[in-house]
Amino acid sequence: MQFKDYYQTLGVARDAAAEDIKKAFRKLARQYHPDVSKDPDAEARMKEVNEAYAVLSDPEKRAAYDQLGKGYQPGQEFRPPPDWAGGFEFTHRGFSPAEAADFSDFFAELFGRMGGAREGFRAAGVRAQGEDQHATILLDLEDAFHGATRQISLRVPKLDDRDRVTLETRTLNVQIPRGVREGQMIRLAGQGAPGQSGAPAGDLLLEVQFKPHPRFRVDGRDLRHTLPLAPWEAALGAVVSVDLPDGPLKVRIPEGAQSGWQLRVRGKGIPAHPPGDLLLDLQVVLPPAATPEAREFYATMARELAFDPRAETRG
């Protein structure tokens, strides 16, 4: 196990005052805030920063860390002394058990992971039930129309026989309910982290995301689709067929429709409760004037229709 220099992580001197440590932490917390940072490593960096702050902001843990870390360089192989008790009372610093459980092996070795961290939280009134776990599930839009069974693989930390944390791949087959929308959470009761000493396991929460669809854009319950129309369909009105994920739908285009109009077909979006709408963005497409006959048609229109598309834009 490698020694971690928490002072270096926060960018503070070893004799930094508590106030300076707090300032340095806040600066980094702002820099790596998941809603703001464009840094792809932001999440991993924030984990390190949280871990460093959990130790250095707690006088007891900081003192223990300083004492143990004497003479160690960052990255150097670290072995705690044999009489090291570990299993610190995890003073509540606002890090949830799920976050604390995510801290490094180095942290766990020094201050205890499952035992220390959870014991402290349990004393603070939090149940000893297993943690809820979060994951994302990527679905096709079609799954929301038909429902589906999807297989997902999760990498979950697990304690082995010697109390070391290892990552284990777990595969689950999940029934996707029909009518599911982007951003919704599918809750699988009892599929989260196992509880301690017989307590029930936590839940697994899967956040639904859709893969980009070539023809439809999803907006909550609603589906948006750009519908190309021939000029005569737009001018004279028409009934056109739109291929939805659950089959074709006939839509009436009103006479005199224009590009940029939006038609709303109620209840034909995602089949949730209540169902969403289908929003059709009309786009009139001109046939190319590629043959003499086509050119003649356009010339005839120009002569016969006396149409000025810019009439309203003149001063």
């Binding site: 069974t149 959470m185 599918i186 809750r187």
Partner: protein, 102 residues
Amino acid sequence: MREQDILTGSLLEDTWLTLEQVAAACTVEPEWLAYHIEEGLFPHVEGLAGTWRFSSANLTRARRMWRLERDFDAAPELAALMADLMEELDTLRRRLRRAGLA
């Protein structure tokens, strides 16, 4: 794939949960959550006889507010204001994506 191997989930929006279950799902503490609901910092939360129906959006909101309060010692109202702004940012970003501009 055998039938018994397939797990059937429930949608969070449609599920009534205890305060402890909601708090665990948000990875926050129940006391924290109870106080914030009481103070009206979560819009559209339904409570009935000790159980709660919490939207997925509110779950994200809880995690954001919790983090802001912890990392910056933000007052709950300030964290809620930040969460409002982030949600608006999310909405605008979604609109950009839909328009093919992001």
